[in-house]
Amino acid sequence: MKIYGYRLPAMSSLILWGILWEVVGQTGVTFFVPPLSDVLVTLYSMIGTTSFTRALTETGYAFIISIFIAITIGIPVGILMGRSRLLDELLLPWVNVFLSAPLTALVPVLMVLFGFGMKAIVITTTLFAIWIIILNSRAGVRQINRSLVEMAHSFGASPVDAFFKIYFWAALPEILGGVRIGTIRAVKGIIIGQLLISIVGFGALFELYSANFLMSHFWAVLIVLFALAFSISEFLAFLERKVAYYAAKR
């Protein structure tokens, strides 16, 4: 956006909302919204404390494992579903059910099945992320230009070559889109897991701060979480833009 010919940097609207937050906080209308400056001071003092570092590592560890599982299973399954009619008929209903199902309601079942530890949290997070990755990879493969497939076939591509040299790359824009949305859903999943399954990581901090009405701590953790999710999502969006030059011309 441009104002008086001056180009505003991206996200500059956040400054406006920050100011509004500060003003509302300073008026003291509700304990629920402390001034932004207080939150930032709390955030600064929190970083480096053991409880914060522990929350960050616990959460980050579970998050990375979950995303890794979701990607390594989700992308091949999606590609295979896009290629094989049989697999598609078999799996698509389930993918759609789980994509729209309220996964939070499934968490108690997962606890029964996988216990109260890290395993259940990782599985919950994976379940939040994986379906949209599968669906997007499938969509990406399905829109591949038929003649590209014929081209690979006519020049003698083996199935493995065709998979890695054609299908994967042709579907990459959609796959990256799926991974980006899946990652954002995983952030939601991991906090729900940490709140419902075992009180660890950022979930534990949320629980602790909101139970004790430490609102500026609460908001500080939320800002950290938002910043993390936002940077991951922006990084993936950056990768998506890298392949956008051919996304429209396949």
């Binding site: 006519s154 040299k165 051919y246």
Partner: protein, 266 residues
């Protein structure tokens, strides 16, 4: 019209001179007969056009020759060997170019060789030569979306030439490029047929294009799909690219083909 042969039983040149032969090809899609008992021979080192109205099965026949489709019955032989699938003795040029949009011109042209496991430096040497031959020197690092339609088809042509297949299958290769580029392509194709010792099978729906570039034109008609006529223009082929379009034999053949096709055009 002595130069137009009505073909009842196709006159066969010596078997050595036949690069590709299609025998009794039938192809059904469910209840639809795309091709019915089609027999046709393609002389070595020459360009044969498959010409006909849409729905006559010319692209189907080309894809069967390529090994991309299996005939319901009948068989294809290339240099005396039956075709069971795609093979290195045939290369395909696609109507919509079928380039990898994420790969440079160099990688696209070398892609056929890449799939055959040719080492990178070697295949890029070969590709560079053919990129030069089709007139794209200097564009090696460009991507397909940066090229015009005509240039993209030159990439597709270079890719097919780079694998050095003896038979080149072209599926309406010039139909997606503009008229002026198409004329240039047609002239280039004539010298390609002359200089490369390859057999060309060329699908087109343009009568003028078929007569202009072909040594042999097979007219395919639908319902049921069959070869109705084989025409071998003889008089103007050596007169040079510039004078073909003014040659009276060229004009007569174009008129005659139109006369036999017009009833089939909706």
């Amino acid at each position: 019209m002595s130069q137009i042969k009505e073909v009842v039983a196709p006159q066969s040149p010596a078997p050595d001179d036949i690069a590709v032969s299609a025998r009794n090809i039938t192809k059904n899609y469910g209840d639809v007969e795309a091709l019915k008992d089609l027999t046709l021979e393609f002389p070595r080192g020459q360009l044969t056009s498959l010409l006909g109205p849409s729905g006559c099965g010319k692209t189907t026949l080309l894809k069967i020759i390529a090994g991309l489709l299996q005939p319901t019955s009948g068989n294809i032989e290339v240099n005396g060997k039956p075709v069971t699938g795609p093979g290195p003795n045939r290369a395909f040029v696609f109507q919509d170019f079928a380039l990898l949009p994420w790969a440079s011109v160099m990688r696209n042209v070398a892609f056929g060789l890449e799939l055959r496991g040719v080492a990178k430096s070697e295949r890029e040497d070969v590709a560079a030569k053919y990129i030069g031959d089709v007139g794209l020197a200097g564009f090696e690092k460009s991507y397909p979306h940066e090229l015009s339609g005509g240039m993209r088809q030159r990439v597709g042509l270079a890719r097919a030439l780079a694998v050095d297949a003896k038979v080149l299958l072209m599926d309406e290769p010039f139909s997606a490029v503009d008229e002026q580029t198409r004329r240039k392509f047609q002239e280039d194709l004539l010298s390609l047929v002359e200089n490369e010792n390859k057999t060309f099978i060329f699908v087109t729906h343009s009568i003028e294009e078929a007569v202009y570039v072909s040594d042999q034109i097979a007219i395919l008609l639908p319902r049921p799909s069959r070869v109705s006529e084989i025409i071998r223009p003889s008089g103007f082929r050596n007169k040079g690219a510039d004078s073909i379009r003014r040659d009276s034999e060229y004009l007569d053949i174009v008129d005659n083909i139109w006369a036999s096709l017009r009833n089939y055009v909706e």
